[in-house]
Amino acid sequence: MSLDPATVRRIAKLARIRLDDGEVSRLQGELNGILGWIEQLSEVDVEGVAPLTGGARIAMRMRADAVTDGGQAEKILANAPDRAGEFFAVPKVVE
């Protein structure tokens, strides 16, 4: 399986990373190299093996569905690149 430039552009779009033409060409080579190397996993017999989804072999802990925190708008907004009052500000989304 080999990625063409259009697929590299599509992945970049999904990942929300802007690429110029030079980067598309470079990444195409690098990603194909890595994916080719990863291909070795296809030789492993995984028939009937349940996937391991997490790092800990314990069930997730449950907790009460209760509000335990809040009222920290200033702290949350302290690192915002742009704000308007108690809101994050972004360019106009809806015309």
Binding site: L3, V8, I11, A12, L14, A15, R16, I17, R18, L19, L27, E30, L31, G33, I34, L35, W37, I38, Q40, L41, S42, V44, V46, V49, A50, P51, L52, T53, G54, G55, A56, R57, I58, M60, R61, R63, Q72, K75, I76, A78, N79, A80, P81, D82, F88, V90, P91, K92, V93
Partner: protein
């Protein structure tokens, strides 16, 4: 020389009033000022904060309220959020990020009286094995090849954490390990480093890379120093749903247990074709030391070892692509304006992330995308289950495993940079334990022919860090590793 002391000796000296915390911390602040322009081990230095914390430690030592780490100067990997102190994760995208909260692990170190010298350099978002991907410049290894001044890498991703301790700028440091990011730099810098069991330390407040693998751990110049630091860092935290609710044992005491009667496994698959002869010899020495100390050496097999790295390079990028989606230029971090919101996201992420991070986000996005998920991601999770089964089977027969930490000693800055896979192969011995979530520790065990340190790795059962410390202590005692790097405090 205060900067040469172990943490345990410094803590005893502070309590005997041989020196004050202000003197101890002052010596290290001076060492950072003298050496950091050359080594670049710290992204952000916090000398004023350190001296204020030292004064508080002296007061606590005087009134009897001092914690076990009172007055001990540490470096904190710049992946741990520190309240009011810039936290960059080694990335441009977080270049101006000042967390309004403290990570659980660093908060526990502060609770016990530790002093923070600054934020240690790392590969961007902890993605790397050389510290060459940091947006804040590479870190130089304080060790040099005999008769050469070529700058070597300290390993990665926790390269600044390891270099600062090796160069005697800090007495100990925190790191994080996702595929080897504590153990490999510890080996390259000639110090000890432990990655505990997944779930042992809270991940709350640590900038996330691959959440099912990330685990905090400690660096020190001795096994017992790592044990003391881990005892402070570890423990249940309700704020991390994967943190495990079980008591933290006395790790320092565990270091003295010895290995008499223990069964130590030697995994056949770690003896690779074309293995470095010096690494092979060191491994045999390590096994000999453990046998002499009363352990039984047992040949074992971890059949899926060779698939560890390929599995890792699906699982970790997949999780990273999801975790790093939060860097959108809206709520925190840098922003590049665009004509609309999508354009803003794309420009911000293009300008904010470095090449290796982009590469991994792209791989992760691809293996999770419709039509490829089963072939790549689901298959990798199944192979990961087989890797875990290998370890579970082996730990039915032995108490711990001994392997080399890394295939070679530290390499030169710039080497392996044009071939991502050659760089990834650095972690061939460390990644399997990460995939299985079991604890691993690197201990300095000797020098290669060029005078560079080599490490041995001890791998233990889940939550049995005590046996890992006991075995590591025997390696340390038997190796008698007294070598020090050329670049260090007092030698600048």
């Amino acid at each position: 020389m205060l900067c040469d002391l172990s943490i345990l000796d410094a803590a005893a000296g502070l309590r005997r009033r041989d020196f004050s915390a202000r003197e101890l911390v002052g010596a290290h602040v001076d060492a950072v000022a003298a050496l950091n322009p050359r080594l670049n081990a710290f992204i952000t230095e916090t000398p004023e904060l350190a001296m204020r914390q030292a004064e508080a430690a002296d007061r606590a030592l005087a009134d009897g309220s001092a914690g076990p780490l009172a007055g001990i100067p540490l470096a904190i990997k710049d992946l741990f959020c520190t309240e009011g102190v810039r936290t960059t994760a080694g990335s441009r995208i977080l270049g101006n990020f000042v967390p309004p909260y403290e990570s659980t692990v660093s908060a526990q170190l502060l609770r016990d009286g530790a002093v923070f010298l600054g934020k240690a350099n790392l590969d961007e978002f902890a993605m790397g094995s050389s510290n060459m991907t940091s947006a804040y410049g590479s870190v130089q290894n304080p060790w040099q090849r005999r008769g050469s001044n070529v700058a070597l890498v300290p390993g990665g991703s926790s390269g600044g954490s390891a270099a600062s301790v090796a160069a005697r700028m800090a007495m100990g440091s925190t790191g994080t390990d996702t595929g080897g990011s504590i153990r490999q730099p510890a080996a390259f810098c000639g110090i000890a480093g432990i990655k505990p069991t997944y779930g042992r330390c809270s991940r709350w407040g640590i900038v996330a890379f691959a959440s099912s693998l990330d685990q905090a751990g400690a660096f020190g110049r001795s096994v017992a120093d790592c044990a003391l630091l881990l005892g402070s860092m570890a423990g249940f935290d309700p704020k991390d749903s994967t943190s495990v609710e079980r008591p933290v044992p006395d790790y320092v005491a565990a270091c003295k247990r010895g290995v008499r009667g223990l069964r130590i496994g030697v995994p056949a698959e770690y003896r690779m074709d074309g293995m470095n002869a010096e690494v092979e010899l060191l491994w045999q020495n390590g096994l000999g030391w453990l046998r002499e100390a009363g352990a039984e050496i047992v040949d074992v097999s971890l059949p899926h070892t060779k698939y560890g790295l390929a599995t890792y390079y699906i699982v970790a990028p997949a999780e990273a692509s999801s975790n790093l989606a939060r860097y959108d230029g809206v709520r925190f971090g840098m922003r590049q304006d665009g004509v609309d919101l999508i354009d803003l996201y794309e420009r911000t992420r293009a300008a904010g992330f470095g090449d290796e991070v982009k590469r991994r986000i792209m791989i992760g996005t691809y293996v999770l995308s419709a039509g490829y998920y089963d072939a790549y991601y689901l298959r990798a999770q199944k192979v990961r289950a087989l890797i875990l089964r290998d370890f579970t089977d082996v730990f039915g027969k032995v108490d711990a495993l001994l392997t080399p930490t890394a295939p070679t000693a530290a390499f030169a800055q710039g080497e392996k940079m044009d071939d991502p896979i050659a760089m990834y192969l650095n972690d061939v011995f460390t990644v399997p334990a990460s995939m299985a979530g079991v604890p691993g520790m690197s201990v300095p065990a000797g020098l290669d022919g060029q005078g560079l340190p080599l490490g041995l790795q001890v791998i233990g059962r889940p939550f049995d860090e005590e046996t890992v410390f006991a075995v590591s202590q025997v390696i340390e005692d038997s190796a008698g590793f007294g070598a020090r790097p050329q670049v260090r405090a007092g030698e600048e």
